[in-house]
Symmetry: C2
Subunit: 328 residues, 2 copies
């Protein structure tokens, strides 16, 4: 069973329809009055905090918010994973307070599979943690690898550490230190540069949330600008217009290849259960894919396998005895 | 007079020809045997350290390297600015040791005008400083603004600070602190996100060298990947091929718009004289443009105007009295 909060969707009804059509059992949280006739169990949850300015405060102070109710359903075992669209910040806050961090996890991270033509790559963290210590980056590496194996269909993920040069000694201090600790990791390919986003040299790229956020937005802005420039070129003369019309079907298949909806959305890793955050603008099909990905994460036990990999690598957070009761 | 080291060029002779054809007086440093008949004063300097693995060490230990000789010509007043292609690391090292940091400058920075279609933007630092304190970022802002005004033809540059959100409190600690200190700056537009690279909301974008380096490479990789994907689409069927052929002239003008050679290369700011670093692959025309830009920097006094702006803003580095003799 997957708990699905549709309140952050641009079109909550379409999101609920997608969830219902996913082929997976879902428990839908959203405004029941807008969700009549949906072929799934609906919990009336009209209060939305998807657009709250201070996500952490909203998640704490709004117990009847749909995302909080959905996260609690997961925390209490009524559902096995969370799908919550629209705001990654709100999903992160509600997830942290209700589903809670996994045992031995320092910080949850947001992972985003990037729809790069020909060479998909998953980037994490894309914004949950502005500043990262080496042990955070190390955990992100294992978390990203486990996601790739279980949910994204990459059998032996190659994991790179984003830096300003490929040499191990290149980069901020925390990157150099994380590199050292990751040497022993299966599939670790060392430092990679910004080029690696499209080069196909890594399936998972690890960085802090500041750099990841900038990277993601530069990538989005650049590809949109290039597409717009090609479109403009194709309007610049009658000859170019004809050329554009003839080229359009071929470009449409490129568009499918770089469609973010095919990837389900962003993945919130490091909680006790998996959470998937489809973009608010996703169509019903994008929401359905997010639900299927979440279900795959449950079946393939992404959380358990992440824990086992971290444990095997000695990369779990050690909890001081005095702290153990409160630090979950 | 501009000192031009052509040893880092893929084709040193073409680089020298470009320099000679720039319409500016140049002093060319390179292998005289390959530069016969060039219409400019040539200093025989066959030793190249453009590909040295450790640029700083090579620049210190190779007094007869062409870049060192060219930088010394600038330091000694035989030339007014430096153009040295190929390696920004080597130019930075040779510049620091010979031309030296400007008075009150914490750290030199590398600024790169990005050839974004329709909305050119200058990014700095793109790799000279992995870790930046707030006062470094503040100086970069004024250095970038002065470059934009004097050399790049932007009358009133808008300066943004790269972060993971537009709110002043967003970002790494040093970014938040730099934002606070930049509030009073003319033209400061606040924090900008990765999207700003193509949005046209700032003429100058300030960041640390780690983030700048990643940003630059993500931008390059993404635009090349998009171009390659469009090209692939245009080969995918006879109809698409015809469309591509008809569209080609219009796309060529886009290509001109995003041609990095038109920007002269990277700019090394914060030394006592301006240095311009064209890419090693630039054609003669790219080298000529680099020389013209360097000359414009001299005429428009980019160094003096940077100093005056920093002084006016109280952003010059204060040198402890005991330190003053050695810290230049």
């Amino acid at each position: 069973m997957i708990a699905v909060d549709v309140n952050g969707a641009d079109d909550p009804r379409a999101a609920a329809e997608g969830a219902a059509a996913s082929g997976i059992d879902v428990l839908v949280f959203g405004p029941a009055k807008d969700l009549k006739g949906i072929d799934a169990e609906v919990v009336d949850a009209p209060v939305s905090i998807a657009k709250a300015a201070d996500a952490a405060r909203a998640a704490r102070s709004t117990p009847d918010a749909s995302i909080v109710l959905a996260a609690r359903a997961v925390a209490e075992g009524r559902a096995d994973a969370l799908v919550a669209g629209g705001s990654t910040g709100t999903a992160l806050a509600a997830g942290l307070f209700n589903i809670k961090r996994g045992k031995g996890i320092h910080r949850p991270a947001l992972a985003l599979p990037l729809p790069v033509p020909g060479a998909p790559v998953t980037l994490l963290d894309v914004g949950a943690n502005e500043l990262c210590r080496p042990e955070h980056l190390v955990q992100f590496a294992y978390m990203g690898a486990a996601l790739a194996t279980t949910v994204l269909g990459v059998e032996r993920p190659r994991v790179g550490l984003l830096s300003n040069g490929t040499e191990p000694e290149k980069g901020r201090e925390e990157v150099v230190e994380a590199h050292e600790r990751l040497r022993a990791m299966d599939g670790f390919v060392g430092n990679v540069e910004g080029f690696a986003i499209t080069e196909g040299v890594a399936d998972v790229i690890v960085t802090d949330g500041f750099t990841g956020n900038v990277t993601l937005k530069v990538l989005e802005a650049t590809s949109q600008t290039m597409i717009a420039a090609v479109r403009r070129a194709a309007m610049s003369s009658p000859k170019a217009k004809l050329g554009g019309a003839l080229l359009r079907p071929a470009l449409r298949s490129l568009r499918t290849e770089i469609d973010p909806e095919a990837q389900g959305g962003a993945y919130l890793l490091g909680l006790r259960r998996l959470a998937v955050v489809p973009h608010g603008s996703f169509s019903a099909e994008g929401w359905a894919e997010a639900v299927r990905r979440a279900a795959r994460g449950v079946t393939e036990d992404v959380v358990g396998r992440t824990h086992a990999a971290l444990d095997g690598a000695g990369a779990l957070r050690r909890v001081p005895a005095s702290d153990a009761a409160t630090s979950l």
